[in-house]
């Protein structure tokens, strides 16, 4: 197995595993955040705007972890420097 095939295989597999594993924890965290926000909304409805705003800010921060994983896997698929390097090498040969 030459290095070009190996780079291709490993990039594809890691791109898939990155998003798959990387979205488990943010999803669980967001579920807990929304459920606690719903509980406090039910207990204090007149603080609704503060609770909603804080909920959205917190959700965005949790979501960024999943976005980091997505960005890494996008780079692995579409802008992979190692793949471009071996392609350029084999094209030059």
């Amino acid at each position: 197995m030459d290095s070009m095939t190996l780079i291709g295989i490993v990039s594809i597999i890691s791109a898939g595993i990155t998003v798959a594993l990387g979205s488990i924890a943010p999803a669980l965290g967001e579920g807990r955040a929304v459920s606690t926000a719903l509980t406090s909304l039910a207990q204090q409805p007149d603080a609704a705007s503060t609770i909603t705003r804080t909920l959205f800010v917190g959700l965005a921060m949790i979501e960024s972890i999943a976005i980091y994983c997505l960005v890494i896997s996008m780079i692995l698929i579409f802008a992979n420097p190692f793949w471009n390097h071996v392609i350029a090498q084999s094209a030059g040969k």
């Binding site: 503060t50 959205f56 979501e63 579409f78």
Partner: protein, 223 residues
């Protein structure tokens, strides 16, 4: 398939590059400035107010109220910066409904520029509020050992701001592009709708986070 609008180059001369990001950003700036100028030509304080003036008043007072709710006592000082951030990101994400348009916030250059300007603004507002020495001393709170961690947290907040906006918008446009090659009939429309919604949410998040960072930097610490 393009990863970012930076790849579409219209004109190149040496190291000067005119790509789609720059052209779209300047076009958006032109449209927003001209529209604002047209609406605020004849501002009325009593009597019948034109509809566009009403819309602009709603936008401005809402942003002012949000800034005040985060904890900044004089929202007029920060309204220009925070309002510009929100309006620019919101308009550039909403215009994704136009065909053939690529949002400039889908390029890491634009989001890094916005995040770096937030970083610089936080330092400037903090220094204006607490004085140069007082602001630098705030990095030593609560203890001197926290100095490297405070610096690292500043830098990582900036990085996170840039990557969050870039990742959300870029993934939205890429999902629509991928769906167009697989099932081009109805599903790209739903993903475009979702992209519009996340665009507005990300604009709100970006400006609220900038306000929170400014509030943290300008808060006079007692004790």
């Amino acid at each position: 398939m393009r990863l970012s609008p930076d790849a579409l180059v219209f004109w190149r001369h040496g190291f000067l590059v005119l790509n789609s990001t720059i052209v779209t950003t300047w076009a958006l700036m032109l449209v927003m400035t001209v529209a604002a100028k047209l609406v605020t030509r004849k501002l009325a304080t009593e009597g019948p107010i034109s509809r566009w003036q009403g819309v602009l008043e709603i936008v401005v007072t809402t942003i002012q109220r949000q800034i005040k709710e985060v904890g900044l006592q004089h929202p007029e000082k920060y309204l220009g910066f925070v309002g510009t951030l929100f309006l620019f990101i919101a308009v550039s994400n909403l215009c994704a409904i136009l065909p053939g348009y690529e949002p400039p916030t889908g390029s890491l250059s634009t989001t890094s520029a916005l995040a770096i300007s937030v970083f610089v603004a936080v330092q400037l507002f903090g220094i204006e509020e607490q004085g140069f020495g007082g602001y630098l001393k705030s990095y030593l709170k609560p203890t001197v050992i926290m100095l490297p961690f405070n610096i690292i947290s500043e830098l990582s907040r900036t990085f996170a701001l840039a990557i969050r906006l870039f990742g959300n918008i870029m993934s939205g446009t890429m999902i629509v592009a991928i769906l167009l090659t697989i099932t081009p009939l109805i599903f790209p429309i739903f993903m475009n709708l979702l992209g519009l919604l996340t665009g507005m949410v990300q604009a709100y998040i970006f400006s609220i986070l900038a306000t929170v960072y400014i509030a943290a930097a300008t808060r006079t610490r007692e004790g």
